[in-house]
Symmetry: C2
Subunit: 369 residues, 2 copies
Amino acid sequence: MRTTLCDTLGIDLPIIGFTPSEHVAAAISRAGGLGVLGCVRFNDADELDKVLGWMDANTGGRPYGVDVVMPAKVPDEVKGVDPATLIPAEHREFVDRTLAQLGVPELPEGQGRDGVLGWLHSVARSHVEVALEHPIALIANALGSPPADVIAQAHDAGVPVAALAGKAEHAARHVERGVDFVVAQGHEAGGHTGEIASMVLLPEIVDAVGDRAPVLAAGGIGSGRQAAAALALGAQGVWTGSIWLATREYLETMPESEPMQQALVAATSADTVRTRIYTGKPARLLKTRWTEAWSQPDAPEPLPMPLQNLLVAPAHNRIHASSDPSVVSMPVGQIVGRMNEVRPVADVVADLASGFTDAVTRLTEISDA
Amino acid sequence: MRTTLCDTLGIDLPIIGFTPSEHVAAAISRAGGLGVLGCVRFNDADELDKVLGWMDANTGGRPYGVDVVMPAKVPDEVKGVDPATLIPAEHREFVDRTLAQLGVPELPEGQGRDGVLGWLHSVARSHVEVALEHPIALIANALGSPPADVIAQAHDAGVPVAALAGKAEHAARHVERGVDFVVAQGHEAGGHTGEIASMVLLPEIVDAVGDRAPVLAAGGIGSGRQAAAALALGAQGVWTGSIWLATREYLETMPESEPMQQALVAATSADTVRTRIYTGKPARLLKTRWTEAWSQPDAPEPLPMPLQNLLVAPAHNRIHASSDPSVVSMPVGQIVGRMNEVRPVADVVADLASGFTDAVTRLTEISDA
């Protein structure tokens, strides 16, 4: 299972694993893939710096990457205005009322932390600055092309840039702007996602960018069969996210995530919903009592990015602390239906690789018959 | 490109092609696949009988199948009640008003035909009766398991039965009821479709039915790369529909369909919508001014099956006669974005087969590297 992407990135397997957990990211890199650390959870760039230092010491010298969230259009935010003041009272009241109805307790005095600021452009830029001081192999942007100066900054440091695309025209635009890898994010993916499913989207994007950029397949990839399908469709590698949420290493970073893992392990592929309630843009989440509350007639329309996440982040902290699997708020793709146990990262990687070989062997027999 | 399905059905290529056109179906069978004629357009079983007689004479002795529409739950219909009386005036008024707004002329006096009755259970049963008098190789049901006595009737005649499934649990139930082939219909497919995309759905269904039934992949399949992906995911063959709408042979059956083909050829993969306006159940259609009108605030909720189709069928006749590509009402999958010219059926089949071989060759190189 070796593509030119492996040579470009210095990895053994064309498996890119996005995760907010440094323990998972390091384990993916050690297993021969490329762990990509999601930075949105870091409000403070110094905190990210410390964690990347840990990555440098724990990836066994294997490459790793980082993922920031930079909307192509910079929202009018934090220009002397506290963004929190832009959130309507109706929305705050709905959140408070809903949490009470769902039986989610308030946080004990002094606990809890600020809303997640990583969605703010200024914070994402500070992530890039810090990351480039580490030996990273990739900067990915989870929302379209990064700004031109960020691409230039990465290239000056010799670091390639990846960007997500849910349409072929977006992929072509990324490449014109200098993006080095396109992540084709199918409808079935977790997190921000468009309407076109991987089976259709992936070859469209591969053909749209031609040999100007390798394409990574995201959305629905959790097994070697799916990796083989993605590569049959023209991808040079797979971009996986959801499957790493149900790994043992995830708990090393976030030990309080056991109820979340229980909820994921119990879910079927039908138990996700694509909604704007997480960030203001359509994103696929685990379907729980929390997401269902937002589809009731009394629920307000979600706010635009970045306000929606500022609104719900404190609620997510309360939900997280409540340890109730039935109210979990977590981006995850339809592949959640196959995440049926919590496993070590190395086992997941090994299964992807061996399942790929099995699928190709089976296909070759069919082709030769 | 040969699987056990080929031996079971007596075909050269594991490509099943669903189409309402007998000219297309016969051409698919002659090219080595299995043409499956959709029967829903036949209000009169004698008319179907005549067309199947034509198929018998024009498939060069190659096998073909038929597709009927039998909801698992029989609606309370036509029991002494004219179903037309069950359609609310508000719905009829909306349709009339919308057609006027869209500039769709009324049909000339004496033209036009009845609503499509093939959605009615009684009519679908008459299709089965007639079809079994011909040397058909397959009966497919486009809506879940057929009734037990229909499965028994087909099996008594030595004809295997296929049924569509959008969830693994439905697929398992089909097989328990005696269905011989499961068509895994992904979210990206045209016509009736669920929420789970092919990349995730297909291996789930393959694993759910195990070796009890071969699985055909439907949804997003229009090229050999996609066929290779489907077979990598465990399918024994592909079930294709949309791609046959843009063939020359289609016009031999329905010469008035040129504006529809123009609309399909111009559409991108983003130009579809999943809506209940065609039959009352969620189905993916080409997005046009007609479908958009139904998503406006003044549009009524679609009616349940079979009433919704009885409501819109006369409108579809007017739309069809108007020759305006911008108002076409046509089920089609996201693969429409790759249907960029009207081609002979044999060319489409040949490209599927050669594209499959190319994709497998590429995968084998990756696997060996």
